[in-house]
């Protein structure tokens, strides 16, 4: 018997809430522009609330249809929409985001009014007025939270997706936003417990370490924390769980990529050529940061006699090229065109190190289930790291790749249940499926 009491779903029922949601986000943008032009300085509280409420309300109303629909991942229309398929809207958003980064980094005076709208919050949290970085941190956290809610709605049939998203939302809000702010309020160094060298490269630079140690017990603990996380916790966790423990569960860059970037994950380049470029780039950045760090230490050990200012220049260079241009402007601004993990894939030195561990010494792999693959391509298409997952799956091979951030989306979207993220015994990771009849 059919159960006629069940609600009957219509796929486009959500259109209205998406219109309202997008309009509210546009209203927030408008308010931000008005604030930046000066109104933010005179009416900071009003504009603060307008911006925050519009973003939150817009995001949540936009997400309602995902929660109302029957659970199950639907990528309907993604390749048709100009917003997600590198169409006009995507380019518009990309230019908006890139522009925002450029202004934020190098022309913050244009944002003065907008920065002032964050004063009320900044004073409560940090006991000091806002600056460009506080504005950035607030918007960043908001984006992770709001788009995180959308993500959970979309992928809620898959508990792995829900839990890891709650986790990145938690780490972004707590460890990358509130705790550093409170530390400032308590007159302690502003420290991000969820970022480590080499992603937060300066945490192992001599200057930062000196400064932290001089600022008392908490500072010493921070240095200690940084060392433990980089040299002990990272290898152990990566051995047991793969790089995903960081990239998809903790990291703030990952958090933004997975939430704000989710609508664009399919735009990553899957070609072999892109993979070659990626390997060169990401490992060069790793060498660059390791060299910079080593030079700084050498220089400080010799009291600046060998290199003089040259090592400082080196680290400034790294900060400008990698820290700002790459991780910010390109890494986030290009989401709509190059996919959500541009920075993680091509630039992040942390991802490079974790990846080397993952590839050569880890229990993590994505297991392919026998011969069940139908080569449809959903996995490769939705892999934000541009991994051609299908190339392995259709041969019955497991996926053991340095760049895999373990987001689990390939497994979630596979219509034949072929892929599973697993931490099993290290040997046998590379074993592939052979039919008994072919052996």
């Amino acid at each position: 018997m059919q159960d006629h009491s069940l609600s009957i779903a219509k796929p486009t029922e959500g259109l209205l809430s998406q219109k309202i949601g997008t309009s509210l986000i546009a209203a927030a943008l408008l308010c931000a522009i008005i604030a930046a032009f000066g109104q933010g300085e005179t009416q900071s509280v009003l504009f603060f609330w307008l911006i925050i409420v519009f973003i939150f309300a817009g995001g949540i109303i936009f997400s309602i249809p995902y929660f109302k629909a029957i659970p199950g991942i639907k990528n309907n229309g993604i390749m048709h929409s100009p917003a997600t398929n590198r169409g006009g809207i995507a380019w518009g958003i990309g230019i908006l985001m890139t522009g925002f980064y450029i202004i934020l980094y190098w022309f913050p005076n244009y944002l003065e009014g907008l920065i002032r709208t964050m004063d009320p919050l900044s004073i409560i949290l940090r006991n000091k007025t806002s600056d460009q970085w506080f504005l950035y941190g607030t918007l960043y956290t908001l984006a992770v939270l709001v788009m995180g809610i959308r993500f959970i709605g979309k992928y809620r049939s898959n508990r792995y997706q829900v839990l890891r998203t709650l986790s990145v939302m938690f780490f972004q809000l707590g460890f990358a936003f509130l705790i550093p702010a409170f530390l400032l309020k308590l007159n302690q160094p502003e420290f991000y417990f969820s970022y480590f060298w080499p992603l937060k490269y300066s945490y192992l630079f001599p200057n930062d370490i000196d400064y932290l140690i001089q600022s008392g017990n908490i500072g010493v603990f921070m240095v200690f924390w940084g060392l433990i996380m980089t040299f002990i916790a990272t290898p152990i966790l990566t051995y047991n769980y793969g790089k995903r423990w960081y990239c998809s569960w903790v990291c703030g860059c990952g958090a933004l990529a997975e939430t704000l970037g989710d609508p664009y994950r399919q735009n990553s380049d899957k070609s072999l050529k892109a993979w070659k470029v990626e390997r060169w780039m990401v490992h060069s950045v790793l060498v660059f940061v390791a060299l910079t760090t080593a030079l700084l230490w050498l220089n400080s050990w010799k009291n600046g006699t060998i290199l003089g200012d040259a090592s400082g220049l080196f680290s400034q260079c790294y900060g400008f090229l990698i820290g700002s241009v790459f991780s910010g402007v390109i890494g986030t601004g290009f989401y709509p065109i190059m996919g959500s993990r541009v920075w993680c894939r091509f630039g992040c030195p942390m991802a490079a190190i974790l990846g080397l561990f993952q590839r050569f010494k880890s229990k993590f792999r994505i297991t392919t289930n026998g011969a069940q693959c139908i080569s449809c391509g959903n996995c490769s298409t939705y892999c934000e790291m541009g991994i051609d997952v299908r190339a392995y799956a259709q041969k019955g091979e497991n996926i053991v790749r340095a760049s895999c951030v373990g987001c689990g989306i390939c497994s979630a979207v596979c219509p034949r249940g072929v892929l599973n993220l697993e931490n099993l015994a290290e040997d046998g990771r590379f074993e592939s499926y052979r039919r008994q009849e072919d052996k």
Binding site: G72, M79, Q372, S375, N378, T381
Partner: protein, 427 residues
């Protein structure tokens, strides 16, 4: 050795690739009419729904073919001349071969319903059909699909994603009931209903109606019910695509007749995949296999034979999988819609109506025969091993966890299944 393969589907391409792996000298040419490059037919629905673009459905990048020296020709083969070992293309070109592989796939069944040629009436098999469907479904509001099989349900999901209301006419008393046991068939039917698909069981098409004599306007069922629709999907199965061989000396029946080595009656000509028909199918095995998986296995086996290592095709332990809207389905071994006298069947379903488990076993020695899983991902190696080793049902139930393949943090249902099994009096 000059090898020509007709058909660049999974069968032809798997064969070509495997020949190249074993033989670096052979000249390999693949001729196909539908598309220049191999793409995944199984992904047709995702192109329509906007999950992927055509480009995304190509399993290999375009440089792959020249790198592996596999020549691709997009053309239709019109004639086969077995006497002088040549084929003729639609542009009149004549090509010679030393060995020829026929991997021409299927075409949709048609039953000659009056009105079948109206606009808006179509099947779904290839890219051209997909383009047609794209055109046929612009600004329409309702559709009817005949046939309750796998392609029918995919078509339903495709149309549904564009907010077109769908009615499916199904000859049996439940969805896919000629393949699935009643419980699974009903569970899936309920799920479809939740998505807003109307299923009409025990219903067949009588007539296709049109007002303007150009496009479909409504259909009439054998119960004389009229259903308005601007689109009629015919998904009543496929048959081998062998028309161009009708006047050749190749022996054909429903498909191209082959032996266990996939050899046809003519030396140096082979057939595999959807278009091949086994002369002597083993009992319980279908003579024509129309699946992605079997096409792939046949293509691989055939490559061995062509490269001099004569190999019998052995499909091994049966498996298949599908997805019905949000429900994933996997089957291993032989699970018939109705068990035989010698068999027992244990079925468990979750109260959420989206997850179920079935294990069929022999009554006498309690050895496992096969599984059906809905909403549960299960390891193929484990299922195969248990079936091959004829494990007892008790062992299987106690060790289900070993085969669990659901994503981390999902609920495992093995304990509930075990509990239900032990409390079930007939077991």
């Amino acid at each position: 050795m000059n090898i020509i393969i007709i058909g660049n589907g999974i069968t032809g391409i798997t064969c070509a690739r495997n020949i190249r792996k074993k033989n670096s000298d052979a000249t390999i040419t693949v001729i196909s009419e539908e598309s220049k490059h191999f793409y995944s037919r199984t992904a047709l629905m995702y192109i329509y729904m906007g999950h992927m673009k055509y480009e995304n459905t190509k399993p290999y990048e375009d440089w792959f073919w020249s790198k592996n020296r596999i020549n691709l020709i997009q053309a239709t083969v019109k004639h086969l001349n077995t006497d002088n070992k040549s084929i003729q293309l639609d542009d009149s070109r004549i090509l010679n071969y030393d060995k020829l592989v026929l991997a021409t796939g299927s075409i949709p069944n048609n039953f000659g319903f009056p009105g079948e040629d109206l606009n808006g009436v179509q099947a779904l098999y290839n890219l051209q059909d997909l383009a047609k469907m794209e055109k046929n479904t612009i600004n329409i509001s309702s559709a009817v699909i005949i046939g309750g099989g796998l392609i029918g349900i995919e078509m339903a999901e495709m149309l549904h994603s564009r907010n077109i209301s769908v009615t499916m006419l199904i000859r049996e008393n439940a969805y896919w009931a000629n393949v699935l046991p009643q419980e699974e068939a009903q569970l899936i039917g309920n799920h479809l209903h939740k998505h807003g698909i109307t299923l009409k069981f025990n219903t067949e098409l009588k007539e296709i109606q049109s007002i303007d004599q150009l496009s479909v306007h409504s259909v009439v069922t054998k119960q004389n019910e009229t259903i308005d629709c601007q689109f009629l999907g015919i998904t009543t199965g496929v048959k081998p695509n062998i028309n161009f061989l009708k006047n050749s000396s190749i022996e054909i029946e429903k498909g191209i007749l082959v032996n266990e080595f996939l050899e046809t009656n003519i030396p140096d000509i082979f057939a595999a995949g959807d278009c091949a028909q086994f002369r002597f199918a083993k009992t319980g095995e279908a003579p024509i296999e129309q699946l992605w998986y079997t096409g792939k296995m046949q293509g691989e086996t055939l490559a061995n034979t062509i490269c001099g290592n004569k190999t019998t095709y052995d499909r091994g332990i049966w498996f298949n999988s599908a997805k019905f809207f949000d429900l994933e389905f996997q089957t291993y071994g032989k699970v018939l819609p109705e068990i035989t006298h010698e068999q027992e069947s244990f079925y468990w379903a979750h109260e959420n109506g989206k997850i179920s488990f079935r294990a069929n076993y022999n009554r006498s020695d309690r050895s496992i025969i096969g599984f059906n899983f809905i909403g549960i991902r299960f390891r193929q190696v484990i299922a195969e091993q248990w079936i091959r080793e004829q494990k007892e049902i008790e062992y299987v139930i106690d060790n289900l966890k070993q085969g669990w393949f659901d994503p981390e943090f999902s609920d495992a249902h093995d304990k509930k299944i075990a509990k239900s099994f032990s409390s079930n009096p007939i077991n």
